[in-house]
């Protein structure tokens, strides 16, 4: 039984008192005396040369203190934006990174590319003046589709990347995979699109930069998932200020989903402008600005072949993918369609031979980077669409075909780098089938048929990699940073505990779950424990939160620090109580000598440590320990999702009737927080599968720039979800955690698409690309008939 507030307990969230009473403090809620506002002048063209900028009218406008352009930025030595993960082509040549200045100097490459910034007393004044900045453009030819960008004669976007090719990367054994396909009893083929998405955290990105001339210090409040990485990159690469003179604060952050990992031009410009203009500067994106500047997600086009022997065992998988990275290489864009994608193509299956080739391409669209799942949803979608298609073509049950090919022996080395440490894929398949009442499906299908509707059932058996990642391993693959996490546990003289973590919470509930780990260890009430995060002046360093890593990596660092604190507490207590360290136990708010009535209250140990009147010989005073935790492997959350849909063949409207998730996340710290992560992830996955699509027209104009033309899942779009967890404990970290933040978004799209194709299988519809809007479904039905 979990303690009331320990590991495994559904403890109410600490952060919810402020969130439910409207007292959360997000970047745009902060202000300072003398605050000025920044509005950016952005390119209305997808590709153009900037031949002139006339700022004079704007500079003379009311309230305006400065109008800056890219030449001034570069002139002041502000560095170009970087991509922090070096990926090489199959011929060994490094990726081709085009120059990206925070304010464009001579060329704009997507609609929204910033060319100038106006700083004024009010936002309205800045907005009015921004319209007075006259930029002369000479339009250039545009390409928005990644496969078009690779064609001979396509418009050239960066001089550094000939033919718009950033890299042509490969993984696996091409010859062996070709051999497996040549010798196969059955080859299943597919071509599919993984649709481009806009992340849409509800809080728009924002930045407030304040320069203190007296101390030569800059402070940035910003919407960041990783404030320390922001400070590092701003210092080391953009030359904004040395790290000790730059404080980055990421306060409450209203959702991230990957989009707030990156350091964008706006933060750089606000910091530079605050110092240059000598006024505090705030910028807050409006929603359309978010659509045209936040890094998008997905946007893959893939072809694949899956080979089977005559016993329906998989013998090989060959994949060719073209990944659209947009107009510039965003901070981690290069690793998403490579090391976070192709390394997961083995799915839950024994596949002896895998080969994947990925071409990453520049286009005249907003940069593409990690979005909830980041590469893993694309891999899962590909393999799970193939498995469902294979089951149809082989005439076998899709669940049983999967089971027959499941990996059952662990650890399992895939042909694409990953070593799966543990899992039980049959367990989650069985649990999902039972909860989804697969046995009763035929009856429900008949009932739907009777009212003229088509009913379908679709599976998705996903696996993903979290807990990113062993620093040496990612370093050898090109990462520019280590991916450990740090923690510091401070026991105060009165016994209260502050935990400083490099992880950042932007909806995940770390202030609750991290405190549960401490509560569990020292049997202390949640009220005694505070989780401190998101401020580079408080926390020494950290790598931040993304890739479902804060449990597996962030909490592991806390556990390491707790181990050290516990050891010192026991030493002090043993000394004061004149007992053996081995006999000391911590329980019920006290530190006791087992089997005796000798004890100290928890706070008395803290006090003893700080008064230092009676410590063991040679022990330093104080009770504060830090730890860095470097993961030993990725973690591998896995599970089975089953979606049941009804399709109205007259209108193409798809209704999700049931959605069942059975997940293995390893150790669960707070089941209701985990459930919330799964629900939210599935909602985003259903959004991708049915509703969401970031669309550009041929001239590079974004057609989905607001909630009136980009369909977000709303309350009336989603069904109730049946979710459950089934643990196999991760052997690689001290708590056995795998991670739960992205699974829903990874596992759900193929389940839904498979279900719709199952529903329409009798009507001749063999393929659909997401999103499955009524129009697309209706057109496919009509084309098939």
């Amino acid at each position: 039984m979990p303690k009331d507030t320990g590991i495994g307990a559904a403890v109410p969230r600490t952060e919810d008192r402020r969130f439910t009473t409207g007292k959360g403090r997000y970047t745009d809620d902060f202000t300072v005396v003398g605050l000025h506002h920044a509005v950016f002048v952005r390119s209305p063209h997808a590709h153009a040369r900037v031949t002139g900028i006339d700022k004079s009218a704007a500079e003379a406008a009311p309230g305006v203190v400065a109008v800056y352009d890219g030449k001034q930025l570069v002139g002041d030595g502000v560095g170009n934006l970087i991509c922090g993960w070096a990926v090489s082509s199959k011929d060994g040549t490094p990726m081709k990174m085009g120059a990206w200045s925070a304010l464009a100097t001579d060329t704009v490459r997507y609609v929204g590319d910033a060319v100038a910034v106006v700083i004024a007393e009010t936002k309205a004044q800045a907005r009015d003046a921004a319209e007075m900045v006259e930029v002369e453009y000479e339009e250039l030819p545009v390409v928005v589709d990644a496969t078009d960008a690779l064609k001979p004669g396509a418009p050239q976007i960066h001089p550094e990347a000939e033919g718009n090719l950033i890299y042509d990367w490969e993984i696996g054994d091409a010859a062996a995979t070709d051999g497996a396909i040549a010798n196969a009893a059955k080859v299943v083929e597919i071509e599919l699109v993984n649709n481009r998405l806009a992340p849409n955290a509800m809080e728009p990105r924002a930045a407030m930069a304040v320069y203190d001339a007296g101390t030569d210090h800059l402070t940035l409040h910003t919407t960041s998932q990783n404030p320390h990485v922001a400070r590092l990159v701003l210092s080391a690469f953009y030359q904004i200020a040395p790290e000790h003179k730059l404080r980055v604060i990421a306060p409450d952050v209203g959702g991230g989903f990957g989009s707030k990992i990156y350091i964008y031009p706006e933060e750089i410009v606000c910091l530079w402008a605050a110092r240059k203009a000598g006024v505090p500067v705030k910028w807050t994106a409006d929603r359309t600005e978010a659509f045209i500047t936040d890094a998008h997600g997905r946007d893959h086009v893939s072809k694949a072949q899956l080979a089977f022997d005559s016993n329906n065992r998989i013998t090989g998988l060959k994949v060719n993918t073209v990944a659209n990275l947009g107009a510039y290489m965003s901070l981690f864009s290069s690793c998403v369609p490579t090391y976070l994608y192709a390394t997961l193509l083995s799915g839950q299956y024994v596949i002896p031979n895998i080969y994947c080739d990925v071409k990453a391409v520049y286009t005249n669209t907003v940069p593409v980077d990690a979005y909830r799942g980041a590469g893993r949803p694309e891999a899962c979608y590909l393999i799970e669409r193939l498995m469902e298609k294979a089951a149809k073509e082989l005439g076998v049950d899709p669940g049983e075909l999967r089971r027959q090919n499941f990996i059952t022996q662990f650890p399992y080395q895939t042909p694409v780098i990953m070593t799966y440490d543990i899992g039980d894929f049959s367990q989650t398949l069985d649990a999902a089938r039972a909860a989804a009442d697969v046995a009763g499906f035929a009856q429900r299908k008949a009932a739907s048929e009777a009212k003229g509707r088509k009913r379908g059932l679709g599976y998705s058996c996903y696996i993903e990699a979290c807990g990113i990642a062993p620093s040496a391993a990612v370093g050898s693959l090109g990462a520019g940073v280590g991916l450990w996490e740090s923690a510091e546990v401070r026991v105060n003289p009165v016994g209260s505990i502050e935990v400083l973590t490099g992880s950042h919470s932007h909806g995940q509930g770390h202030e609750t779950t991290f405190a549960q780990v401490v509560s569990d260890r020292f049997d202390l009430p949640m009220d005694n424990i505070k989780i401190v995060h998101g401020d580079t002046d408080s926390v020494q360093f950290g790598m931040g939160t993304y890739g479902s890593r804060s449990g597996a990596v962030g909490m592991s660092a806390i556990v390491k620090a707790l181990d050290k604190v516990e050891a010192k507490v026991k030493k002090i207590a043993a000394h004061v109580l004149e007992a053996s360290e081995a006999d000391i136990v911590i329980e019920g708010g006290a530190v006791k000598v087992q089997g005796t009535d000798k004890q100290m209250a928890w706070h008395e140990v803290g006090l003893a440590a700080y008064t230092a009147h009676n410590l063991p010989e040679g022990m330093e005073p104080g009770l504060k320990e830090g730890a860095f935790y470097d993961p030993t492997n990725f973690t591998f959350p896995a599970g089975c999702y089953i979606c049941e849909v009804e399709v109205d063949p007259d209108t193409g409207v798809v209704t999700v009737e049931n959605f069942t998730a059975a997940d293995d996340f390893g150790q669960v710290i707070n089941p209701l927080i985990v459930e919330g992560q799964v629900h939210g992830g599935i909602a985003q996955g259903i959004g991708q599968a049915m509703l969401e699509h970031a669309v550009y027209d041929e001239s590079g104009q974004p057609l989905s720039g607001s909630y009136m033309d980009y369909t977000m899942p709303r309350a009336d779009d989603l069904p109730s979800f049946k979710v459950s967890t089934h643990e196999t404990f991760c052997p690689g970290n001290p708590l056995g955690i795998k991670g739960c933040g992205e699974a829903g978004a990874i596992g759900s799209p193929p389940a839904l698409v498979n279900a719709v194709l199952d529903a329409l299988s009798g009507m001749g519809v063999k393929h659909l690309d997401m999103p499955l809007t009524p129009r697309r479904v209706w057109e496919a039905i009509n084309a098939a008939n």
């Binding site: 952060e15 007292k23 409006d286």
Partner: protein, 156 residues
Amino acid sequence: MSKKPVQFRLNGAERAVFVEGGQNLLDTIRRGLGDTSPKWGCGQGTCGACTVLIDGQPHLACLTLAEAVEGREISTNAGLGANGLHPLQQAFMDHFAAQCGFCTSGMLMAAKALLDRNPNPTRDEVIEAISGNICRCTGYEPIIDAILDAAKRRAA
């Protein structure tokens, strides 16, 4: 730019402010009066994060001209729990209905407007009442459950 005086009640307190022509109610509440509970999520009346009550009816503060609320009664989430936690706020906590918290104040005001006019709503009525409010984190189910639970507790 000339400014106009506007007087209204915010969460029961008399307020008088000068507003610019075209200034919206959301900026007036957030910047002028320091109540940052309503959030600026889109500025286009499409996300619901700025939902406030004007004379008890839900409105999108980002699309409401500040001048238009002369003499009206405005309620925000910051005033909802003025005397301890409101039952809806408590239910949102109990049901884990907030994750990042950004949409929460708008959701709560939409929910309050619903329960004020319909104390015993069906699940579908709850869904309809919050379908103008976008939440990117939760998938909505805990929010729906919380509102239904708050209604049940109020009836009990």
